[in-house]
Amino acid sequence: MADLSVDLAGLRLRNPFLLASGVWGESGESLAGAHRAGAGGVVTKSIGSVGRPGYPNPTIESYDGWGLLNAMGLPNPGIDEYPQEIAAARAAGATVIGSIFGADPGEFADLARKMAATGVAALELNLSCPHAEGYGTEVGGTPAEVGAIVREVVRAVRLPVIAKITPNTSDPAALAEAAERAGASAVSAINTVRALAIDVRLARPVLAHGLGGLSGRAIKPVGLACVYQIFSRISIPLVGVGGISTAEDALEYLMAGARAVEVGTAVAFEGIGVFGRLASGLSVLLDELGLGSAREAVGLAHRGAGRGAASPA
């Protein structure tokens, strides 16, 4: 039986499958439920300084199993109301990674301190929500912005800091490099891909916010390309995110260079039981391929590939 455990920036995870931010992440009992379902760790909903209701509905458009468009608008109860949720998740034994979003480095640092005080094992910085005005990509869209935020947060807390970057830019790897230079312990990629749906009968966008972010199986090749490119340009660990719903998807990400992966949309289409299936499926797949552990698979697809091969032709 292949060993699924992985080390991620000092965290020891029983398997590489993390619950992605924004899914089952508002209530502590849901985070605990994801842990019980077999997730190796859970990332919270992105939490801000004050509560936000998010955008009005419709906030979701579903594409029959292959994708999901959302513009939730970062709803969250605010950091002061959130410690109780983290406590419930930790009481169940979950390894909790606290996701935060702010408008500038100072707000990020302040949130980081408050999130750290809740007892989370690491922080993930949302530098990448594609549809929240004044947050996400709008404050983390360039290497300089990513660097400034990460630097301030790393100075403020002792926890491992994971920078979650956007694919909605011509050179995502440059964002990852900036995060590494600023002291991040790991990089996660990708957040959702900016996208739109229009209802032709009503001649208007389906989502109340108009633009949204695409997730699910449709974006797996996009996420893989980002991870593959970033792997050859940084030396800190990578967390692969985007469209993972089978063990083979996950192994693709590991081979592209991810040390761990996050799973979001598959929970909507397959239920939380997907975590148990992913873990047992990966174990079988690694055995079948003669790989002794998940760690051994990391970056395998780069064997023999020079720097030139890592970029699109």
Binding site: E29, P53, P56, N57, I60, R204, A208, F269
Partner: protein, 258 residues
């Protein structure tokens, strides 16, 4: 699935409640709900009050801004529907006590219809603030259900909350199951009264909803997500959801007393 449909029919059920009928193909069962999109406004969860055939319906009570505006929707207007979502009532018990308050009749009426079609005996304890607000009173009568009424102002049936007659019926009558939908404080009382006489309860619960896909966590209730694990819960499930009858979460996910 999701579709944009035209409102075929509009029925004013009570001074604050309207039924909208529309053609929507997917099969649905009593208890399930749809997300109703009022373009340029909001998208809200609504139980299907008519589940059979393609002429489906929702029955909307004015509770806040959007539902108040929805009273003005006219036949011919376009609305978006996605779903149906969630689970349903099991219509097979022989003798059922139904306790309905507020807009609760919207989901209970098609369920009672299904039970009656199987030959079930149904008693409906129906409550409202005042007589004209008793939702689906005639519809329940037409199904051959026995009706027991209660109004806050005494304008029909007993004066007071519907939990009064419901608790009495539970003590006196012989039932196999209890179904309830309405204000959560009412449902909590019904669950405990039914528990006292050892009857199983099915309770249709509301929580804030966004995705309706079991993902965004807006509708979290204890270990459950109301949109996929419910909206119909058993008394035993609700016993493991500490917040039932006490707390809900607002659109931001903040826990608030009911």
């Amino acid at each position: 699935m999701r579709a944009v449909v035209r409102v075929e029919e509009r029925v004013a059920e009570t001074p604050t409640t309207v039924t909208l009928r529309f053609r929507y193909e997917p099969d649905a069962s009593p208890g399930q709900f749809v997300m109703v999109w009022l373009p340029d406004d909001d998208e809200l969860p609504m139980s299907l009050s008519y589940t059979r055939g393609t002429l489906k319906g929702v029955t909307i009570k004015a509770m806040g801004e959007t539902t108040r505006r929805s009273l003005g929707i006219a036949p011919g207007q376009r609305i978006g529907i996605r779903g149906p979502y969630g689970n349903c009532f099991d219509p097979t018990p022989r003798r059922i006590l139904v306790v309905a308050g507020g807009s609760g009749s919207a989901v209970l009426a098609p369920a009672v219809e299904a039970a009656r079609a199987l030959g079930g005996e149904v008693t409906v304890a129906l409550g409202a603030t005042t007589a004209p607000e008793l939702l689906f009173r005639e519809r329940f009568e037409a199904m051959g259900a026995r009706l027991v009424l209660a109004t806050d102002d005494g304008s029909a049936g007993e004066k007071g909350f519907v939990t009064g007659p419901a608790e009495r019926l539970l003590r006196e009558g012989s039932f196999d199951a209890v179904w309830t939908c309405g204000p959560e404080v009412m449902m909590r009382k019904v669950v405990s009264a039914a528990g006292a006489v050892g009857l199983p309860v099915r309770c249709s619960v509301e929580r804030h909803m966004k995705c309706a896909l079991g993902m965004c966590d807006a509708c979290a209730l204890g270990p459950f997500h109301v949109c996929v694990d419910g909206p119909v819960f058993t008394d035993r499930q609700l016993a493991s959801a500490e917040d039932f009858g006490r707390f809900h979460r607002d659109a931001s996910g903040r826990r608030r007393p009911l």
